[in-house]
């Protein structure tokens, strides 16, 4: 098993990824500390999802190394995949709930795969995980197609948490949600982050989420990553970062976050 107290939780060194002639990552470095919420931003096509897939061991990078808890992901993916996948939870952009299973069965799916537990316990664990993300046990009997967007994101989070990982990857967790649901999701994330002592890596375009939740941010520009705290990012001279964090939307989000911080 991987040691969840190893610091840094994730270390990416010199990552190169290309599709044909198109270079996506050109020597990208990234480090995620224990117990932080790390936001990954970048323009469309900057390679955020490719980075995520490389870290998860779903994609073989062209060169460079990815370590989770000090262990090389590529070698783990071939030798000890089950330890690797039990060390993290992932939610995908559109939920990726298995549509032929109910929500409760989706949550139980990884538990069934990795442990032999009685039906009673599995049902109770499904209840627990659903309650934890703010759903009710009745929602467990529904199929993913019967859920609203916000509920799908929550159910996906419940499934990601089922194996009790200490490391959570979220791909656009608030995209497609109305501001009220998105804010509720941010609050849920902060609550679970504190209660379960999670390390979170989040790809997001939602500036509100970024300002409300993230302790550090990594920006992918030209295949490399610039990492800094949010206040640091606001004073970064890079033109893309300037535009990203000083556009009208960012100003509004920053003001909101500032108000919350003072009040």
């Amino acid at each position: 098993m991987l040691d969840p107290n190893f610091n840094p939780a994730i270390r990416v060194r010199g990552l190169h990824n290309r599709f044909g002639a198109q270079i996506v990552h050109d020597g990208l470095d990234m480090e995620v500390e224990q117990h932080e919420i790390f936001g990954v931003v970048g323009g469309s096509g900057a390679g955020k999802s490719v980075l995520l897939r490389s870290i998860l061991g779903l994609r073989h990078p062209d060169s460079g190394s990815v370590e989770i808890y000090g262990r090389d992901v590529e070698s783990l993916a071939t030798t000890d995949r089950s330890s690797l996948v039990q060390s993290y939870g992932v939610t995908f952009q559109n939920g990726a709930l298995i549509s032929s299973l109910t929500v409760a069965q989706n949550v139980q799916l990884p538990l069934r795969e990795h442990y032999s537990l009685s039906e009673k316990t599995l049902n109770e664990l499904a209840d627990m995980n659903l309650l934890m993300v703010g759903l009710v046990p009745d929602d467990g009997a529904k199929f993913p197609s019967q859920l609203s967007g916000g509920m799908i994101k929550r159910a996906a989070l419940a499934r990601a948490l089922a194996l009790e990982p200490k490391l959570l990857f979220l791909d656009e967790p608030t995209s497609g949600l109305d501001p009220i649901s998105a804010t509720a999701f941010d609050e849920l994330l902060l609550y679970l982050h504190a209660q379960l002592r999670l390390t979170v890596v989040m790809i997001t375009h939602d500036l509100d989420t970024l300002f409300q939740t993230c302790s550090r941010v990594g920006v992918i520009i030209d295949g490399r990553m610039i990492t800094d705290t949010l206040p640091g990012m606001l004073t970064n001279p890079n033109p893309w970062i300037q535009e990203y964090f000083h556009g009208p939307r960012a100003r509004a989000a920053a003001m909101e976050a500032g108000k919350d911080g003072n009040g």
């Binding site: 549509s99 537990l117 109770e124 664990l125 046990p137 197609s145 009790e164």
Partner: protein, 372 residues
């Protein structure tokens, strides 16, 4: 391995000592031990977490659930540096209780409700079929006044995909089946010394029934499923809604070209299947029965009545309409999920083959009645 828990009397109650691995990985063993806790557990229970290693939520939840099941309720306390997340679990526990005590719908009402919902659904489905037929009729009717509505390029694409690309498989299967029929027929007929009637058997069976029926079944499997799947995915992607929102009619764009394409293609494929069937019969007669080809063709002419060929071919457009309509209708029904898509694609194939065979039976009765 240490026993994950031990129960000791403690003053006026019990002390539940937790040992060893209390992470999720230890849950299977913990679960078994929890189930063997005595049912008589009562009064005060203190959970002692001192020796529990790496406690995680799932085993703690299983413990809380087990202790909560006791009647009368236990008075549970936690001691010995309990894990930080117990407050969260207690909170979830209260929420769960609130959620479960709300429900409990009586069984009878549930049953009646189910029956009612089912009946209404059947009505809705029947109406859906009629509306679908009506829509197609309107589009086709309107297209006679507005030639652009025929969507020629789409029609051509479907003719190519459902027709041209189906030729090899249709030809091969028609050929093989007719060889099989001729071979088995020859064995039986040879016992009466009536070998030559193999020619009658093959030609009449192929032209009247097998050519068109086999072709229809193959096309239902190939194209009926493709229609349902293509249109179903467009439904899931909201492409049909997008078309509607741009003022286009999905029936005109998606359904009618497919129906028309099959109506054009299926008779042509049937002709090919007929020809290959006769070729198969001829070849087997030559090799197995030593009937030379001129004699085969002469016998073939004698065995045919003027209507034999047409009585097979006339069924093809009808089968085509059935297959195409079932496929496209099921595709248009897809809503919400990939599961529906798979289910309705299967339904489309099974139902279109069933409809084809049912229609074929009706044709057989009709042809006998009118002496066709």
């Amino acid at each position: 391995m240490t026993d994950p828990l031990a129960l000791e009397p403690d003053g006026d109650g019990w002390r539940l000592k937790l040992f060893g691995d209390w992470s999720l990985a230890g849950l299977p063993r913990i679960e078994a031990r929890l189930n063997s806790l005595p049912a008589t557990l009562h009064g005060n229970v203190v959970c002692d977490w001192t020796d529990a290693q790496t406690p995680e939520l799932s085993p703690a939840w299983a413990l809380l659930r087990r202790l909560a099941e006791a009647v009368p309720p236990l008075n549970v306390r936690h001691a010995g540096n309990p894990p930080h997340f117990l407050d969260l679990l207690e909170k979830l526990h209260v929420e769960r209780h609130a959620a479960y005590s709300q429900q409990a719908e009586p069984t009878l009402e549930k049953l009646v409700g189910k029956l009612g919902r089912w009946s209404v659904l059947q009505g809705v489905h029947a109406r859906g079929v009629i509306v679908f037929l009506g829509r197609i009729a309107t589009v086709v009717g309107a297209a006679f006044r507005r030639p652009r509505a025929w969507r020629i390029s789409s029609l051509v694409r479907h003719i190519y995909e459902t027709g041209i690309t189906a030729i090899p498989i249709v030809a091969l299967i028609a050929f093989l089946i007719s060889v099989i029929v001729a071979y088995l027929g020859a064995q039986q007929l040879a016992r009466f010394g009536a070998d030559i009637f193999v020619v009658d058997l093959v030609t009449i069976a192929t032209l009247r029934e097998m050519g068109v029926l086999l072709t229809s079944v193959i096309v239902a499997g190939r194209s009926g499923s493709a229609f349902a799947a293509e249109i179903g995915v467009m439904q899931l992607n909201e492409e049909t809604d997008a078309l509607r929102a741009m003022g286009m009619n999905p029936i005109e764009l998606l359904v009618v070209p497919r129906v028309l394409a099959l109506v054009i293609v299926l008779p042509l494929l049937t002709v090919i299947a007929d020809a290959m069937g006769l070729a198969g019969g001829g070849l087997l007669s030559l090799i197995n029965l030593h009937i030379p080809l001129p004699q085969f063709t002469a016998r073939l002419r004698e065995s045919l009545s003027p209507t034999t060929f047409w009585s097979g071919l006339v069924k093809a457009p009808v089968f085509a309409i059935l297959i195409a309509m079932v496929g496209t209708y099921r595709g248009m029904q897809v809503r919400d999920s990939a599961r529906e898509l798979g289910r309705l694609t299967t339904v489309a194939v099974v139902q279109s083959i069933f409809m084809v065979i049912l229609a074929d039976a009706l044709f057989a009765v009709l042809f006998v009645q009118i002496g066709f």
